[in-house]
């Protein structure tokens, strides 16, 4: 059921009212549960990410796929493992501590994934999950799910996709199933979630964010964004042990404003500053080992105003620590978001219980 405009504005006013007192950071940290979570997440502030397209090939072709937009798809593949090893060594020298291997489909080049892991032990691989990545590559593996098997067949051209993904990754501590909400598959999450929870799989959510120039039927509308939020919040209550998510994740990724307008994107493509943070260190390497600052972000060729990617938020929202430390509930929400991000992306990190169960407005905004 869609949420009305009326309930949107009342949620926003409620959140704005809460932000009147000026809080000291030490006051916010005086709550033992908050302090404990802060100490837990800040140990990971050393993470500095870059992303790498390890191959231009894929075993399926999905509508709205980002890889096959723009110029990066035409890069000539470098398949030499030693070239990748040298790149990883150079990246370490540059201060990078976390890699995201994407593609097209990284499972098609397991030898390159392994070399990266040997040189850089923290990272995540984005995969469609149809081909198992060997266990000796100890990165998190994000398996993309775009609806039930009927939708997957229509949008991705692959049969029995969920069953095959589960067969490959059930009981694998590396695996997180990433359900992407499009405008067309919002209600399918219920049957997909039931299956994944029954198989004891961990799940998180992503929002379809249109590639540049895309105006197809997967693109979200204000109504579908709110419907996704309500769905996410109800599933969080139903599957607390299997969903890696928080109410604030739902707010940040289904807000009428995209992530750039809400938080200011810190990736080089939208951030010209090279002084600090991602603007200074982030690179997005293509499969020929080249990179282009003007195109560098976590999912290149996304239409920036429509960007609500989980990958983008994981950097953009977490980086806005300072802005979230103005109010106890907003800071708790930021801790939940950061705790979720680490559980989704970092091997061995266990998510705690969410500290804030209500949807809180992002800094300077209403909640809708």
């Amino acid at each position: 059921m869609y949420v009305s405009d009326e309930s949107r504005s009342s949620a926003g006013e409620k959140s704005i009212e809460k932000s009147q007192k000026k809080w000291k950071f030490s006051e916010i940290l005086s709550d033992p549960a908050v302090k404990e979570r802060w100490e837990k997440v800040r140990k990971y502030f050393f993470l500095r990410e870059s992303t790498y397209d390890v191959t231009g090939r894929c075993n399926i072709r999905c509508e709205g796929c980002y890889y096959y937009e723009g110029e990066k798809q035409f890069a000539e593949e470098n398949r030499d493992p030693e070239a990748w090893r040298s790149l990883m060594k150079a990246e370490k020298e540059r201060g990078i501590t976390f890699v995201v291997l994407a593609g097209a489909e990284p499972a098609l080049v397991p030898e390159l994934c392994r070399v990266c892991y040997e040189e850089m032990p923290l990272g995540t691989i984005a995969s469609n999950g149809l081909k198992q990545i060997p266990a000796d590559t100890g990165y998190k593996i994000h398996i993309s799910v775009w609806g039930n098997d009927s939708s997957s067949l229509r949008v991705r051209g692959a049969d029995n996709m969920l069953i095959r993904q589960i067969r490959n990754y059930k009981d694998d501590p590396r695996a997180v199933f990433v359900y992407t909400f499009t405008r067309q598959n919002m209600d399918e999450i219920h049957e997909v979630m039931e299956i994944l929870a029954a198989e004891n799989c961990k799940v998180t959510f992503n929002m379809f964010s249109a590639p540049v120039g895309y105006s197809g039927y997967l693109r979200h509308t204000p109504e579908s964004l709110l419907y996704c939020r309500e769905t996410m919040l109800s599933l969080l209550r139903k599957y607390p042990d299997h969903l890696l998510y928080s109410p604030y994740n739902a707010v940040a990724h289904t807000h009428r404003l995209g992530l750039h307008d809400l938080y200011g994107c810190s990736y080089p493509r939208m951030n010209p500053s090279t002084d600090l943070g991602l603007g200074r260190s982030f690179r997005q390497y293509r499969s020929d080992l080249g990179w282009d600052r003007a195109a560098a972000c976590c999912v290149p060729d996304t239409d920036c105003p429509d960007c609500r990617h989980y990958a983008s938020g994981s950097a953009v929202v977490t980086a806005r620590l300072f802005r979230h430390a103005d109010d106890p509930l907003r800071f708790r929400s930021w801790l939940d978001y950061t705790d979720t991000y680490l559980a989704v992306w970092v091997m061995g990190y266990e998510k705690g219980e969410n500290l804030c169960e209500e949807p809180i407005a992002p800094p300077g905004q209403d909640a809708a």
């Binding site: 950071f25 800040r42 502030f45 002084d275 600090l276 943070g277 977490t318 980086a319 620590l321 300072f322």
Partner: protein, 86 residues
């Protein structure tokens, strides 16, 4: 440089060491001119943490937009001193 600024330099160095768990350095031996980004390796999250603690301690507001200017302990101390004088 005033005695007051010296005290702020020392305190900023202490906060930096404590919050970022820097080893092999004390507030007295911390070079206030060393580049925090290039030579110490601190990043935006570290700087935000230090800024939140210093804000509390001195009752000032450190603007996020000013982070790129705060590249040494000395610059942070001068920034605080200027805010206190406003």
């Amino acid at each position: 440089m005033t005695v007051e600024t010296d005290k702020i330099v020392l305190r900023v160095a202490e906060v930096m060491i404590e919050e970022l768990k820097l080893e092999d350095v004390t507030a007295d031996t911390f070079d206030p001119e060393v580049d925090l980004v290039d030579e110490v390796g601190i990043d935006s999250m570290d700087l935000a943490t230090v800024a939140l603690v210093l804000q509390d301690e001195y009752g000032i507001r450190i603007d996020e937009d000013d982070y790129p200017k705060l590249t040494t302990v000395r610059r942070i101390a001068d920034y605080i001193q200027n805010k206190l004088n406003e």
